[in-house]
Structure formats: C-alpha cells, structure tokens
C-alpha cells in the first residue's frame, strides 16, 4: 500500500499536477483520497459499513454498485458533507475536506442550479464557492461555455436551458476553479449517448492534466472503459477495491474450444468444470496454461478448429465479487435508467 500523505502536500498547486503522474504506477503515487473503516448509520440502518478506499493522485477511480449500496453516502463522507460515525478519511492528507475546499470540485447526483441565474453567473458562483474571484469566474465561464459549444447561452437563465445543457453548465461550474480532485456522483445518469461520450472524453482529459477523478456509477462499462481503479460496493461494504485489472483477475480466463471430433479419449483431458455449448467447450484457463492441454488434444486427435482465451470482463468480476443479488440489482438499475 502506498504511504499516506499526512500533511498539507507540497504538490497541491494546480500547476504542479500537470501530467506528473502520467505512466507512474498507482502505488508509486501519493494518495489523493484515503478512507479507512468508514461507517455511517441512518436511523439504525448501516448505510456504509467499514469502507476502505485508496485513490492515488491523478487516477480515474470508480465507485461501482447498485442504487442504495452506499455510493453517495461514501462520497458525502469523503467530501465532508457528512461525518462518518467511525473511521477516518483523508483528502490530500487533510482530515477535514473543507480545509482544502478550493482544490475540490463536486457534481452531486441530484443536479441543481438557481433557475433565475444566467449560465455565466451560475458557473462563476460555483467558482466563488471554491474561492475563485467572481470576475475571473465570469471570464473562465465564457471560455468554458464557448469551448463546449454553449457560448450562445452564456446570458440565458438556467430555467431556459434544456436538461442536458443545464447538466453541462453544472459540470463546467464544478471545474471552473480548476480543482485538483473532481468528485462526480452518477455523472452519466440522465445523459444521452452522445453526451456520455463527451463526458468520458472530458474525464480522460482531466486525468491527463493530473487531476484525480472519482465517480460513482452503476453502469459497469463506464467504469471499465475509464477507470484505473474501482471500489465495488454492495450493502454498504466494499468487498473489492483496487485496480480494474486485478478485479478481472478474480475470475480465471475462460477457454473456448471448438473441435472437429465429438467423442474420443481426449475428452478426459478437459478440466472437470468444462461446459459444452453446441460445438463449443468452455472451461477455466488451467493453472498450467493451455500448452499441456493442447498437446493432449493433438495427440488424442480432437481436431482443433479454434481455441480462444477470453479474459473476464468487469461485469463478471462484479458478479463474482459482489454476488448475484447485487448484480441483478445493478442490471435492474441500468434498465430503469435506460427506460
């Protein structure tokens, strides 16, 4: 595990972060976020039950879980909106996230803006909340709106915008003060496919600039495409937190074999977990690899037509780690979201 950065970090200046972490392994970087044993109960119900998370600086990190799993409560504790009943959290080495409020940008799950505010003012106001002078906030707002093809709407009131535009404005407000840590709670929900794609690009661009991005989602493919690390959360617990690659390694790679011969002594060479599906055999990749097996199949004249090794996806890993029930709930959430 990486060493915890206990004090005010030397590298907190936004300028210092640019591409600093590019290519460096996660465990070589200081932690932007570290949480140990976070517990939070509401009215006797444990919403979060001993969450441990470590997010290295410059990472894109996903908190993956179904609705009600404790994602938002975890993020709120990390941001200091609510305090944990037990456990510790540190953001850039600070115990109280408000002490470094200027370095953080936050997009909550429930989007909200003052309807009577103009776009430019809304973005500048969100910057002002993080210590950016209003004048500079307005200048940056114009620049950001133009960069995202919304320059024409700068003087429009929020109530005059479409839902997607308002969401974009809020995201720009989250970024206007150039934070070092961006926390996004379900950022993809409510966005169409095009805007989801744009948001993915934006998140990647932030990470390339050295910004740490942590987001919650119940859509696995966003996490799989974007994240360096994930925390899988279910029932308020985190059964897995680490790299996406390591999560996928929870399930052995699957071998898919197609043979000309249907019967023969070579069948006994296949692992006992083998399932037959039409012309194909499926089985976990043997610990010794495929070479010994291949030798036996050739000697047994199985007539290999094709053989492929498929690594498990994050979804399969999620099922293996969080359980069938959590996976079913995740799928139901996704269907509901799409509907």
């Amino acid at each position: 595990m990486a060493v915890i950065n206990h004090g005010p970090a030397d590298n907190l200046a936004p300028g210092n972060s640019e591409a600093v972490w590019s290519g460096q392994p996660a465990d070589a970087r200081p932690l932007a976020i570290e949480a140990r044993g976070l517990v939070k109960s509401f009215d006797g119900t444990r919403a979060v039950d001993g969450v441990d998370i470590s997010v290295p600086e410059g990472a894109i990190y996903g908190i993956l879980g179904p609705n009600g799993a404790g994602k938002t409560t975890t993020l709120r504790m990390l941001l200091g909106i609510i305090d944990p009943d037990e456990g510790v959290r540190r953001v850039f080495g600070y115990d109280r996230p408000h002490d470094i409020g200027r370095l953080i940008g936050y997009l909550p799950e429930e989007r909200g803006l003052y309807p009577s505010m103009k776009c430019i003012e809304a973005i500048a106001f969100m910057g002002a909340l993080r210590g950016l002078p209003l004048k500079e906030g307005r200048e940056r707002a114009v620049e950001l709106l133009e960069r995202h093809d919304l320059g024409y709407a700068a003087d429009r009131q929020i109530r005059q915008l479409s839902k997607g535009m308002a969401q974009t404005v809020q995201l720009l407000g989250t970024l206007v003060h150039r934070p070092r840590l961006v926390v996004l709670d379900e950022p993809f929900s409510g966005l169409d496919a095009i805007n989801q794609g744009k948001l993915e690009l934006m998140i990647r661009a932030l990470a390339e600039d050295g910004v740490t991005v942590i987001f919650s989602t119940h859509v696995i493919h966003h996490a799989e495409r974007l994240c360096e690390g994930v925390a899988i959360i279910a029932g308020g617990k985190v059964p897995y937190a680490g790299s996406v690659e390591a999560a996928r390694d929870h399930i052995p790679a699957q071998v898919r074999l197609e043979t000309r011969a249907r019967e023969g002594a070579w069948l006994s060479a296949l692992p006992k977990e083998t399932r037959r599906n039409g012309d194909f055999f499926h089985f976990p990749l043997p610990e010794a690899g495929v070479e010994p097996l291949l030798r036996q199949l050739i000697e047994g004249e199985a007539g290999i037509l094709s053989l492929s090794i498929e690594r498990a996806g994050l979804h399969d890993a999620f099922v293996a780690i969080a359980g069938e029930a959590a996976a079913r709930q995740l799928n139901a959430d996704n269907q509901e979201n799409r509907a």
Partner: protein
Amino acid sequence: MSSDAQIFGRPRLSALEAAWVIARRDFVAVLFSRAFLFFLLGPLFPVIVGGLAGSIGGEVQRESVSVEVGLALSADENAAMITAADALRPQLGGVVPQLRVIEEASGDSNFDARAFLDQRRGNYAAILTGTLAAPQLVGTQGQVDSWTGPIELIAATASSAAPARFPEASREVVATSAASERTNRIRTAQAAQLVLFLLTMLLGGMVLSNLAEEKGNKIIEILAAALPMDAVFMGKLFAMLGVSFVGIAVWGVVGWGFWAIAEGAIVTVTQTNFRDLPGPAVGWPMFLVLGIVYFTMAYLLLGSLFLTIGAMAASVREVQTLSMPVTMLQLMVFFLSAANIGQTGTALELTSVAFPLSSPFAMLARAALEETLWTHALALLWQGAAVVLLVKGGSLLFRKRVMKSGGAGRVKKPWFGRRTQKLAEPAQ
C-alpha cells in the same frame, strides 16, 4: 497573482469569506427580484388600511357617542343652566357636558324622563328634571355616575350658590420631575420595543423559508460540499438582514416624507405626536445606535432559530404550517420583555435580559430608562455568543438530519413523519 496561485496559497475560504459568498448571492437575488417590490409595499397596506379604518371609526364614534345632557326643567332654569355651563366651560373644559333643552318637555308638567329614555327617543346621555334647588338626573347607572357631579356644580352656579368663576391659579411649568420623567421614558421604551418587535416579526419570518429554495433546487448539496454549513447559515442570515435594512431604509424615507407632508393628519390619526416622545436616558443618538444594533441582534437570534426550523422542514407546506407557532414564539418573547419595562433588577426582568431571544428587547427598554452603558456591551457580547451557538447548533442539526442519504433506494419522509426506511436491503 493568478487565482490558481491564490487558491494554492490558501486552500480554503475563511468563514467570513464563505458567508460573504452566500450573502452576496442571496442579497442580489432578493433585491433584484420582482417580489421585492411587493415586499417593500407590504407594510404600506396595513398603514393605509389602518389609517382609513381609524378615521372612519373615529367619525362613527364621534357621531354615535353623545355627551349631551337633556334639560327638562322650567324654561328659566333651563336657560340658567346653559348660561352657567358656558361660563364654567373655559375653566373646566371637558368636565362640563353639553346641555340641550328637550323640546318635548317644554310646557309639559307631566314629562316622564324615564319613559322618554325607555322609548329610545332623542340622543341624550341623561336627562335633568326637577328644579335647580332639587335637580334629578335620570339615566343609566354609568351616565348618572359620570354626570352627577358636573351637573350639581352647574346647578349650583346657575342658582348662584357657587361663584360664577373660580379663582385662577397662576401657572409655572417645569420641564420634568422624577416621576414624570420615568413615566415618560417608559412610554419611549414601550414605543421602541413595539417598533423592534414589529420589524423583527415582519422581517424575521422571511428567514423561515430561506433554505427552501436551495433544498428545492438541490443546490444545498453543492453548498454543503463547498463550504461549512454554519458559514452558509451565517451568509443567509446576513443577506436577509441586509435586505431588511434596505426595507427599513425605504420605509423610513417614505415615513419621513409622509411626516413632512402631513404631520398634523398623522398626529390626529395616531393620537400621538412623535415630536413629544420623551427622550431616552442614553440620549437619542446613542439610543438610535443601540436600536439598530439590537435590531440586528434580535434579527440574527430569531433568524438563526427560524432558519434552523425552516431548514428542517421537508416541504414548503411544512414551512407554512410552522409560521404560526413561530409567530406565537415571537409574541411570547415580546411579552416577556414588555411585561417587565420599568421593573429593572427584578427576577423576571433579569430573566428577559438573560434569555437570548428576549434580551435585545429588554435591553432596548433599559436604554430608554437607564443611562448605564456597560450593561449593553455585556448584553451584546452575550447575544453575539448566542447567535454563534444557535448557528452552530442549527447547522449541525441540518447536517445530521437533512444531509443524510443519497436518496437512491430510500423513501424520503417529512420531518415530522416516520423514520427514513430502506426500500430494499442492498445485496450482500
């Protein structure tokens, strides 16, 4: 220096800076809203309605209330009574009733005053029958009690049993006396408390629904993530205080304008000449300064409490329902301090001074009655500390009770409703 460098230098806003960001937004948003015009016009409606109702009521009362005493004596005695009354009136003023000869009684030796009044004829407070030597006053108990003495005096004068004019005392007027000064200053204290109460009642209620917008628009979470909640509360309070001062300034200028144009009419309608209001013990300039400071403290104290109560409400309907008990609370606070004016040092008065919510009212009354100033410094420190405690407590309660769950998978219950329940247990 660029903003990024500034941000690096100080990774957080100070509490005052944070409160300022909120206060500035709220102040501008309220001041430039159309609703603010109605807010400014609001207090004029009851003034106009009150003025109209007062003048109409006064007119009706003048028409309906009779202090005429009917005369049913002989013609000569009637004339003697009226002459005597006219002679006494310059010295005795309102003590002497208006006298009117009852035409129906003229020449009727069998005139029955009791039957006349029973038949509701005429509009007389009472009727005088008999003779000057043996006058008889007929009327209801109250009227007879009121007018027996004056009528006896007039009758005595008319029959020359008393001098036509009483000796006139020479007059020397002193500016004040201990008794009158205290009595007068109590009037000032009462007036000041009433004004303070009306202003806080009018303006304090606005704070109750102050967080409703943020909760309705879901902005509250952005604010709570960026700034400490007590700074948000403080910013909101200061914004509404600023709005209140703008309102008071506008109403003050309008009131001054009305006074300049129609001083006489205002004195007539209110039955109060504000120029004659006795000076407070600390002097008018200091009293005005203390008035502003105590209004600020009363507003912040009641406002922080109302902000907390309003912030806990789950809906606008709950806020509306809460406004009545909140008004009652304000009335209780006012009565606690108003009941003890002039009783400086008593246990109840000291309670009203020490209880933070009533303290500004009680101390303003003290400023009218006593010259001591150090007690105000002490009280202001105490009230300031109470504001900080209320804001801290309110924000803590808000974070604990309102900013709880993400909402997903949960049913939101109103504040007064059952506890939040999970729809389904998360997967294990």
